[in-house]
C-alpha cells in the first residue's frame, strides 16, 4: 500500500501529470469523436452501420448546395485574405513612422476585434440596406440603387466587415515585426543609396516574411469564421452568393444527415491539413520554426 502511494506521489509530481486534464478533455470532446466522425463518413446510416466505402464522398461532392458553399467560401477567402494582409501591412508601415498619437491609432484599429459583431450589425444594416445610407448616396449621384444584402454584391459587404474586424490584429502583428527589423541593416541600405521602396523591398520584406506567412494563415482561419457575420447580417437563409460552408453544415445538421455532415467535415479537414501543411513548410523554409520546439 505504501509503495502504491509512493508511486502515486511520483506520478503526481511528474510534469506530464499537468497534461492530464487537458488531454482527457481533448480526447473526449475532440479526438475520439473525430475518429467516430471519420467512421460515420463511410457508413450507410448510423443505425444500420453498413459500410459503403466512398459512396458518401461522391454524393456530397455532387451536391449542389455543397458546391455553392465551397465556391462562395473559396471566393471569399481568395479575395479577403490577400486584401487583409496587404492593407494590414500598409497600415503598419504608416504607423511605423514617427507619428504623434500612435497608441491611439493602434487602439482604435484594434477595437473592432473586441466589439461583438452582434452589436454593430445594426449599423451595417443601416448602411447597406436597400433603403440604406450607401444607396442614398448612390442615388444622389444619379446611379441605380443596389440591394447589397440580397444580391451578389453582398460579398462586398461581407469583405468590408471582415476587413474592419481583422485589420487591426494583422496591423499589430506587422508593427511588431517592423520593430524587430535591425536598424543597422536599414542604415547600411540607406547609405548605399537605396530609396524607400528599395529599403522596403530588399531589406524589410526579408524580415517580414515569417509574419506575412503567419498573418495569411490566421486570416485564412478567420475567413472560415465569417459565417457569424453573415448570419447576423442576413439571418438563416442568405442570398445564394453568401451561402457559406457553415450554412451548409447548419442545414445538414437540421436534417440530421450525419453521414453527409461527417463527410463534408472530413473534406474540409483535408483541405485544412493541406493549407496548414503548406504554411508550416513555408515557415520552416523561412528558417523559423512555427512550433519553436
Amino acid at each position: 500500500m505504501r509503495k502504491f502511494t509512493n508511486i502515486l506521489k511520483k506520478i503526481k509530481s511528474h510534469p506530464a501529470f499537468f497534461l492530464v486534464p487537458s488531454l482527457a478533455g481533448m480526447l473526449v470532446f475532440f479526438v475520439i469523436p473525430y475518429i467516430i466522425m471519420v467512421y460515420y463518413s463511410f457508413l450507410d446510416n448510423p443505425i444500420r452501420k453498413e459500410f459503403i466505402g466512398f459512396e458518401n464522398y461522391k454524393t456530397v461532392l455532387t451536391n449542389r448546395a455543397f458546391q455553392t458553399a465551397v465556391n462562395n467560401t473559396f471566393l471569399f477567402t481568395v479575395f479577403a485574405v490577400p486584401m487583409a494582409v496587404i492593407l494590414g501591412l500598409l497600415l503598419a508601415l504608416l504607423l511605423d513612422q514617427k507619428i504623434p498619437g500612435k497608441s491611439f491609432f493602434r487602439s482604435s484599429m484594434l477595437t473592432p476585434l473586441m466589439v461583438p459583431t452582434a452589436s454593430v450589425v445594426l449599423i451595417f444594416q443601416v448602411l447597406f440596406d436597400y433603403n440604406g445610407v450607401v444607396n442614398k448616396y448612390i442615388e444622389a449621384h444619379g446611379l441605380e440603387r443596389v440591394d447589397f444584402l440580397k444580391s451578389s454584391y453582398g460579398m462586398i459587404v461581407v469583405v468590408i466587415l471582415f476587413l474592419w474586424k481583422n485589420l487591426g490584429y494583422i496591423m499589430v502583428l506587422f508593427l511588431a515585426a517592423l520593430g524587430n527589423v535591425p536598424e543597422d541593416g536599414l542604415e547600411v541600405a540607406r547609405l548605399e543609396g537605396a530609396n524607400v521602396w528599395q529599403v522596403f523591398w530588399y531589406v524589410k520584406i526579408r524580415y517580414l516574411s515569417p509574419t506575412i506567412v503567419f498573418t495569411t494563415m490566421l486570416s485564412m482561419i478567420n475567413s472560415f469564421k465569417i459565417f457569424r457575420e453573415i448570419y447576423l447580417l442576413t439571418g438563416e437563409y442568405p442570398f445564394g452568393a453568401m451561402y457559406m460552408l457553415q450554412h451548409y453544415m447548419n442545414n445538414t445538421f437540421a436534417s440530421a444527415d450525419y453521414q453527409k455532415l461527417s463527410t463534408a467535415a472530413v473534406y474540409m479537414s483535408l483541405v485544412m491539413v493541406v493549407i496548414i501543411g503548406l504554411l508550416l513548410f513555408a515557415e520552416y523554409h523561412f528558417g523559423r520554426d512555427f512550433e519553436e520546439s
Partner: protein, 334 residues
C-alpha cells in the same frame, strides 16, 4: 521622408562640387544656403507629418465609426429612431417591407438626448437582461477553466521532452486551426452521446478544452530560460511549486491575453448555441440581438451598447498585454 533627405544630400554634394567653380561664394553665403536648405527640409518634413496624421486619423475614424454611431443612436428616443430608420426596419407581418419614409437618416447627434431606451431595457423588459445573463453564464466558466486547464497543460508541454509530447502538441496545433465547421461535428456527436445537448454543458466543455490557449501559453513558456527551472529545483521546489510560483507569474501577460481573446470569441459566439440549443430561451444575447423585432430597433441600439461594454472594458484593462501577446503570437517578439 527619406527621398527628400536624399535629395537634399544630393544638393549638398552639388554645392560642394560647384564650390571651386564659384569662388565668389563666401563662407557666409554657403552657410546661409545650408540653413535655407535645412529649413526647406524641415518644412517638408512637417508637411509630410501632418499629412500622415490626417491619413491615420481618417482611418481611425472609419474603424471607430460603427461603434460611435451605435452609441450615439442608443441615446435617441424611439420616435426619433423610427423616423430615421423607419424605411429600413419597418416590416409587415408577412415579412415584406413597408416603406414609410423613403430616406434614411444616419445621425451622430440625437435631437434630444434620451435615456428612455436604457430605462426600458434595464427596468421594463427583463428579456434582454435574461439573455445578457445567459451570455455571462456561458462565457465566464469557459474563460476561467480554459485558462486553468491550458496553463497546466502548457507547463506539462514545456517540461516534458521527447517525441510523444511533440506529436501530441502537433495534434493540438492542427485541431486549433480547424475551423468551427469541422470541430462542431465531432463535438455534436459526443454531446449527443453524453446527453448534453440543450444544456449549458454543451457549450462549456468543448470551450474549456479548446486547444487555443494551450498553444499560445506553451509557446511562451518554452522561451523561459531553463536556468530558472533549474534554480527552482535546486531551491527545493517541486513541480507544483515551480508551476504556481515561478512559471505562472512569468507567463501572466500571455495568460491575460488569452483571457481576452477567449472572452471576445465566446462573447461573440453564434454557431454553437444555434446548433447545440434547441430551446431559444437559452440563446445568448449575440443571437437574440439579431432577431430583434422591427418595433424595437431603438432598444436594440441600447442593448448593443450594453453588450459591448464588458468586452471594451476588458480590452482597456488588458490592452498593453493584448498588443504584446498578439505580437508574440506572430513569433516576432521574444
Amino acid at each position: 521622408m527619406r527621398p527628400e533627405k536624399k535629395k537634399t544630400d544630393n544638393k549638398h554634394t552639388e554645392n560642394i562640387k560647384n564650390e571651386p567653380a564659384k569662388p565668389a561664394q563666401t563662407e557666409e553665403e554657403i552657410k546661409r544656403e545650408a540653413i535655407e536648405i535645412e529649413k526647406r527640409r524641415l518644412r517638408k518634413k512637417r508637411f509630410s507629418m501632418t499629412w500622415r496624421v490626417v491619413v491615420a486619423l481618417m482611418i481611425a475614424l472609419v474603424f471607430l465609426a460603427p461603434i460611435v454611431f451605435t452609441m450615439a443612436n442608443s441615446f435617441m428616443s424611439s420616435a426619433e429612431i423610427s423616423s430615421n430608420y423607419g424605411s429600413i426596419f419597418q416590416k409587415t407581418d408577412t415579412g415584406g417591407k413597408v416603406y414609410i419614409g423613403k430616406t434614411v437618416n444616419l445621425k451622430l447627434i440625437p435631437d434630444m438626448v434620451s435615456f428612455s431606451q436604457y430605462f426600458t431595457v434595464l427596468f421594463k423588459s427583463p428579456d434582454y437582461l435574461l439573455k445578457f445573463w445567459n451570455s455571462v453564464i456561458l462565457v465566464v466558466p469557459i474563460v476561467v477553466f480554459q485558462l486553468v486547464v491550458a496553463s497546466l497543460a502548457s507547463y506539462g508541454f514545456t517540461r516534458t521532452k521527447g517525441k510523444i509530447s511533440a506529436i501530441i502538441f502537433f495534434v493540438y496545433v492542427i485541431l486549433m486551426m480547424m475551423p468551427n465547421q469541422v470541430t462542431l461535428v465531432p463535438n455534436y456527436i459526443v454531446l449527443q452521446k453524453l446527453n448534453m445537448l440543450n444544456t449549458n454543458m454543451a457549450i462549456w466543455f468543448p470551450g474549456i478544452f479548446s486547444p487555443f490557449s494551450v498553444y499560445l501559453i506553451t509557446k511562451y513558456m518554452r522561451r523561459i530560460p531553463k536556468s530558472i527551472f533549474e534554480a527552482a529545483r535546486i531551491d527545493g521546489a517541486g513541480e507544483w511549486r515551480t508551476f504556481l510560483f515561478v512559471c505562472a507569474p512569468i507567463a501572466k501577460g500571455i495568460i491575460t491575453t488569452c483571457g481576452i481573446l477567449i472572452f471576445v470569441d465566446y462573447w461573440n459566439m453564434v454557431e454553437q448555441p444555434l446548433l447545440f440549443f434547441t430551446d431559444p430561451d437559452k440563446y445568448p444575447l449575440s443571437i437574440f440581438l439579431s432577431k430583434i423585432n422591427a418595433g424595437e430597433v431603438g432598444l436594440a441600439f441600447a442593448v448593443a451598447v450594453i453588450y459591448m461594454v464588458p468586452s471594451i472594458l476588458y480590452f482597456l484593462y488588458g490592452e498593453e498585454a493584448l498588443v504584446d501577446g498578439v505580437a508574440f503570437a506572430g513569433g516576432v517578439k521574444g
